[in-house]
Every structure is written in structure tokens, then in C-alpha cells.
């Protein structure tokens, strides 16, 4: 008799519009965090080429480490990925700072504003760094 209907969580996760700033901040922080971890692993993998460097080649400037890095840097796509990484890192840092303040119990009633500020600053920093990042390939 006492049956009940479970609307589940999927439905509400589908309702993005109903999400609030705090929830978006959480999702974005998670996402950026995961990307950063992913990058950390890749990064070390790429840098691992350094272990195979022999001193002679290094002196000539054509060791595997240098060539790998430089050939990667020549690819436009890598430059864009780097910009992406910067964006991700900047947002994670800024929102991370916001979260640290939240943890200290500071400015809780402005948490939505500080989230928007993190977003805007991320955008600005990304834009500002475009020339540096794209320098040499375009």
C-alpha cells in the first residue's frame, strides 16, 4: 500500500538552470581539479624524457628533452591546450582561495559574488596572457 515514487537524482542533475552559484562553483572546482591532476601525470610523463638525456647531446642543444618540448611547443594545438591549462589553473587557484576563505568562515554571505569575481578574473587573466602564449607560433 505504501509505495512511493523515487524521482531519483538524475532528474535534478538535468536541471542545470536551477543550479545556484555555490553549486556551479563546486562543479567547476571539481572539474578543474581533475584536469589539473590529469595534467600533473602527463606533465611528469613528458618531463621524464629528461632522464634519458646524455650530457653531450644536451650541450649541443638537441637532446630528447629539449627537442620533445620544443617540438610540442611548435604545435598550435599545444599552445591552445596550454591556455586552457592556464584558465583551469587560474580558476582553480582563485576559487580555491575563495574556498579557503569560506573555510575560515569569512565573507560567507558574499560567496556568490566571490564566485563571479573568480570567473571574471580568470577570464581577464586568460585574455591578458594570450599574446605571451601564442608568441612564436602565430
Amino acid at each position: 500500500m505504501s509505495q512511493s515514487y523515487d524521482r531519483g537524482t538524475v532528474e535534478s542533475f538535468g536541471r542545470w538552470l536551477e543550479f545556484k552559484p555555490g553549486m556551479w562553483a563546486w562543479i567547476l572546482h571539481k572539474l578543474t581539479g581533475w584536469i589539473l591532476v590529469g595534467y600533473l601525470f602527463t606533465h611528469i610523463a613528458v618531463l621524464s624524457t629528461a632522464t634519458g638525456v646524455d650530457p653531450a647531446a644536451a650541450a649541443a642543444g638537441n637532446d630528447i628533452y629539449t627537442t620533445t618540448l620544443q617540438s610540442l611547443e611548435e604545435l598550435l594545438i599545444v599552445r591552445f591546450l596550454e591556455i586552457g591549462l592556464l584558465t583551469v589553473a587560474v580558476f582553480h587557484i582563485l576559487n580555491g582561495i575563495r574556498l579557503l576563505f569560506v573555510d575560515l568562515g569569512l565573507g560567507l554571505d558574499r560567496q556568490d559574488v566571490s564566485f563571479y569575481v573568480s570567473l571574471i578574473m580568470t577570464a581577464l587573466i586568460t585574455l591578458a596572457s594570450l599574446p605571451t602564449f601564442l608568441g612564436g607560433v602565430l
Partner: protein, 285 residues
């Protein structure tokens, strides 16, 4: 007791009770239709409700659906008023909890236009129309707008939500002292009316069924921060909220704080408890 006029219900021909009942009912429902018509015409404005319906026992309602009701609007009308109108005039099987009409009983937390709110505390005039009314998300729906609150109650009970001081004054007529500052500190947390809105809005609670949830943690805060209880009890309280599904689960999403109809700064209280337990643990490290 004497009676002035003996009023006998005189019926010329014998009618069966069923016949009488049908006639009376017919009569009244005719009046009711007219009344609705009149209400709608005389109102300056009408509003549309789209209400979630579900009843496992009734044919056609076992599959959830939305019903629409047109309700005459008047200034100051709350969502609860509108629902009551819809129920009393259109469909008496429309089911929702309500009692106090003044935001103290916590019965009517609903999902109104995509946000958890108390029906009685939400002005129809402040909402976009049509107004969509659903039961609280993340809780099983029993019928229409009624959800199963048991799990919420269990979580509340799990934090040992009762005052339990280390010691009491000896004198029979002697009260415990509490500074006004300390009272101020716990004041907001004591306002909770157990409506469940916060729990329903929290993503973490949705994902982890055992998460204590903002209301229960706030309850723990209410006691842990009350200086009258004493430090031994506080230790125990911190242990409770520090458990696996306790405060650390909170990801400071703030949804709870945003929806709480009693304006309790839930996230702030949860964070304060996190710091409190860290401080407490550092002492032993």
C-alpha cells in the same frame, strides 16, 4: 433544553439516503462551480498552477503527471493559499502537508519553480507564471506533493539532538547561566523548523544517502556551541559530526543556506564545526 421552533426536515415523498445525498451533493457542486466562476471573474487577475500529481493507488495517477489549475489571484496570496483554493474548489484529492500557515511548523516545504521554499511563506506575486509546484527532490514521493520525511528525521535523530549537560545546578529553582553572547551565537541555529528544504537542495545529500545533511549538522552546532552543556559533551558531539558521513562531506555548495526559510546560515555553521573539530583534533596530535 427547549427548542423554539421544532424544525422537522419534511420530505413529501420518501427518498432513500443515497438519493438525498446525491441531490444535496449535486446542489452544492453546482453552487461550487458558480462560485469558482464568480471568483475567477471578479478577480483582477488569475494565475496558473502546474502541480505534480502521483498516487500509486489511483488509476491514471500511478504515472506521475502535472495538473493545471486556474486560481483567482489576490494581493498577499501565498502559494499555500493557491493550493488550498485548488484543493477546496477543484479537486479535493490534491494532497499536500500544511498546518500553521505562518512558517513555523515546517510542513509545506515544496519545490516551487525550481527552488525549495515554504508554500505558506512564498508570495504568488513574486513568482514567474505559471507556477510549477513539485514535491521536494531527493525524497521519495508518497503522494502528490507529500514526500517521505522519515530519512530526514533519522538524520536529525542521529546527532543526538537533545540538551545533555555535563552537570546541572543543585538548587531546585536554580537556572543554568548563559551569557547573552553565547545565546546570540546559537540563536540562529535554534530556529530550524525541520522542513527539510536544505537537505533536499544539497547535492551531496542527494549523492550520499547517509550524509547527515545541513539540518542535522546545524542541530549539532546548536548544542556543541551551547556553553551550558560543558566540554565533555562537546567532545562527544564533535565526534558524532566528524564521522565518515558528517561535516567533511559538505562541499560548501551553499544551496542549503540559500533555501533555508528561517535564514539559518547553515554553511557557516557547518564550517564552524569543521574548524572546531580540527582544533579539537590538533590538541591530541
Amino acid at each position: 433544553m427547549s427548542t423554539e421552533i421544532q424544525q422537522e426536515t419534511e420530505t413529501t415523498e420518501e427518498q432513500s439516503p443515497e438519493q438525498i445525498r446525491e441531490e444535496v451533493a449535486e446542489d452544492l457542486s453546482e453552487k461550487r462551480r458558480e462560485q469558482i466562476q464568480e471568483d475567477l471573474e471578479s478577480a483582477e487577475k488569475t494565475v496558473q498552477l502546474k502541480v505534480f500529481r502521483y498516487d500509486p493507488e489511483i488509476e491514471g495517477k500511478e504515472e506521475p503527471r502535472f495538473d493545471s489549475f486556474t486560481v483567482p489571484f489576490h494581493r498577499g496570496m501565498t502559494v499555500l493559499d493557491a493550493l488550498i483554493y485548488a484543493r477546496d474548489r477543484y479537486d479535493s484529492s490534491l494532497t499536500f502537508r500544511h498546518s500553521c500557515r505562518q512558517a513555523v511548523c515546517g510542513s509545506d516545504a515544496l519545490f516551487i519553480n525550481g527552488q525549495q521554499r515554504l508554500g505558506c511563506k512564498t508570495q504568488m506575486g513574486d513568482l514567474e507564471h505559471p507556477v510549477r509546484i513539485e514535491p521536494l527532490p531527493h525524497q521519495d514521493v508518497v503522494k502528490d506533493l507529500v514526500v517521505d520525511m522519515q530519512h530526514f528525521y533519522d538524520q536529525m535523530h542521529a546527532v543526538e539532538p537533545y540538551f545533555d549537560p555535563d552537570e546541572l545546578p543543585d538548587g531546585e529553582l536554580e537556572e543554568q547561566h548563559q551569557t547573552p553572547e553565547n545565546r546570540e551565537k546559537v540563536k540562529l541555529s535554534t530556529r530550524c523548523i525541520w522542513c527539510g528544504a536544505c537537505m533536499s537542495s544539497c547535492n551531496i545529500a542527494a549523492g550520499d544517502n547517509e550524509y547527515l545533511g545541513p539540518a542535522a549538522i546545524n542541530k549539532a552546532y546548536r548544542f556543541a556551541m551551547d556553553e551550558r552543556e560543558g566540554s565533555d559533551r562537546k567532545q562527544e558531539r564533535l565526534r558524532i559530526i566528524e564521522q565518515e558521513h558528517g561535516v567533511w562531506r559538505c562541499q560548501t555548495q551553499f544551496s542549503c543556506t540559500e533555501v533555508c526559510p528561517k535564514d539559518i546560515p547553515l554553511t557557516e555553521h557547518i564550517q564552524a564545526l569543521k574548524r572546531e573539530s580540527i582544533k579539537n583534533n590538533l590538541k591530541f596530535w
